[in-house]
């Protein structure tokens, strides 16, 4: 059974139910039930028209639940006949669904969970596993999120930026159970790009593709991190790079720059360099200047200091770093790298050890500890003769 095909139908099925007047929370429950039923039945008995099958099953589930509710409340059963589907506007429905699931009234973790379920068609169990929380906890998080956004009216267009932040989180954070969250984020961003013409949507899609392309090179066989400069570039996925660069170029030609396009441009310059030494750091600094201008983000300034260190030498990088707050995440790691390149090995080793103590995850902690250990236990390289 094609699981991705099944899940890709989720927004359309949900859209049909909502257009028939079913409230969002009930419609979403009915669609999730239909998906679970499809999982059970399709492998042995695949439907001729998967979309129609899902709509029929979801609609029946909704009627069953509504009747049970109605009976419980001793009310007349008002919904009975299956009404004809309303005017077809699948694209608008899909877009509205993204806005609803990323609504600003939701916390980031709730928006992520709701998006993965209602737009992505993942089961609560799959989402719970991906974020390492009990299934009951995830079920509560999703049903609270649905209650929060159930009454939201869409008389004004939503802000695409809120949707992009949620998709970025799905791509960038989370563990991996049986669901590949990065691939799922790419699929959902592609689907969004098909529903709305917006250069930042294209920018985020390009950013994801360009980073996903490097995935095989990012870790060694033992699971340890491989820094960008040391990655085997033959292991990068050239098809994804080609696609990402093409999407980015089209977006940039619209001349409506945003943070995701600027980040994607940096990733594209790395992807373009046949070797780390051939990286166009001068252009990368220029893109970080744009990013700082667009976001005024301390993280962008920190990354800019790294790029300056490569473009103009470690002293220039350290000077750029000196202007920043030293409590920023990864500040010590950047300082360590620049001091090492400046030939100051003992300061670099001390800073790498400090960075390891502050690292937010085990892979980075181990990597930084190894850097400190390397500097503390190996003699300095011989000076060039």
């Amino acid at each position: 059974m094609d699981e991705v095909l099944l899940r890709s139908l989720t927004p359309a099925v949900l859209g049909v139910l909502v257009r028939r007047g079913v409230d969002f929370a009930a419609a979403e429950d009915a669609v999730q039930d239909a998906l679970l039923e499809a999982w059970r039945v399709w492998p042995a008995d695949p439907p001729r028209d998967p979309m129609a099958w899902l709509v029929t099953v979801a609609w029946r589930r909704f009627l069953d639940t509504a009747r049970a509710d109605a009976a419980r409340r001793r009310r007349e059963d008002v919904v009975d006949e299956e009404p004809p589907p309303g005017p077809v506007s699948g694209v608008d429905d899909t877009l509205q669904l993204y806005f609803r699931c990323a609504h600003p009234s939701l916390s980031p973790s709730s928006a992520v969970a709701l998006t993965l379920r209602a737009v992505g068609g993942l089961t609560t169990r799959q989402i719970a596993r991906a974020y390492l929380v009990p299934e009951a906890t995830m079920a509560q998080r999703i049903s609270r999120a649905k209650r929060t956004v159930a009454g939201v009216r869409f008389d004004q267009p939503g802000d695409v930026a809120t949707v992009l932040r949620v998709l970025y989180l799905v791509f960038n954070e989370g563990y991996s159970g049986d669901v590949d969250l990065a691939a799922e984020a790419i699929r959902l961003t592609r689907q969004l790009a098909a529903a709305v013409d917006h250069p930042e949507v294209a920018g985020l899609l390009a950013l994801m593709l360009l980073h996903h392309a490097r995935r095989a090179g990012r870790t060694a066989p033992d699971g340890s991190l491989v820094p960008l400069a040391e990655q085997d570039r033959r292991r990068w996925d050239t098809d994804l790079i080609t696609e990402g660069v093409a999407i980015l170029q089209t977006a940039l030609s619209r001349d409506r720059l945003g943070e995701f396009q600027a980040q994607a441009a940096v990733a594209a310059l790395h992807a373009d360099a046949p070797t780390a030494a051939e990286t166009d750091w001068v252009q990368i600094v220029e893109w970080y200047d744009e990013l700082v201008r667009l976001t005024d983000s301390p993280v962008a300034r920190l990354n800019r200091a790294v790029a300056v260190g490569e473009a103009d030498g470690p002293r220039a990088g350290l000077a750029a770093l000196a202007a920043l707050d030293d409590t920023l995440p990864r500040y010590a790691a950047v300082a360590a790298h620049l001091h090492e390149r400046d030939g100051n090995r003992s300061t670099a080793a001390r800073l790498y050890a400090e960075a390891a103590r502050k690292a937010p995850n085990l892979a980075e902690r181990d990597h930084l500890t190894r850097q400190a250990a390397r500097l503390n236990t190996t003699p300095p390289p011989a000076p060039p003769s």
Partner: protein, 136 residues
């Protein structure tokens, strides 16, 4: 089956058998071998159906307490030189207390400098269980 917590302390256990320098004074190869041993150990326990959970903690924590209605929480720390510092844990589900000790000892044999076992003290704590159905 019974669950046990294998608790790894940076500080606070009995006097170490080997006075171990911090990881950043090991060679990168020694450090990698140590990490690999622990990964392999966890993988073997998954294979044998005895692994439950394993987590590492960041070294700095803060003490927090309630300070009365409408007041923000009171915090204390982080303390650089706290006496007892927990590095992380592993939870195992095994048939006997003896098996829990055996596994803890195996984990304590992780290689250190020169590939020699570090003989690290690990704390083994039984989990409280659910009350049994039949009591008489």
């Amino acid at each position: 089956m019974a669950k046990y917590l294998l608790l790894k302390h940076y500080r606070g256990g009995p006097t170490p058998v080997i006075d171990m320098p911090p990881f950043d004074r090991w060679t990168p190869e020694e450090f990698s071998a140590h990490i690999q041993y622990m990964k392999d150990f966890a993988a073997r326990l998954e294979e044998s159906g005895e692994f439950v959970d394993s987590e590492a903690l960041a070294p700095e924590g803060t003490f927090v307490r309630y300070d009365g209605e409408g007041r923000p929480p009171v915090t204390d720390g982080p303390f650089a030189e706290t006496k007892d510092l927990i590095a992380g844990w592993m939870v195992i589900d095994v048939d006997s207390y003896e098996r829990a000790l055996e596994l803890a000892a195996e984990l304590s044999a992780a290689p250190g400098q020169g590939g020699r076992p570090i003989h690290e003290w690990l704390e083994v704590r039984p989990f409280m269980t659910a009350p049994p159905t039949i009591t008489e």
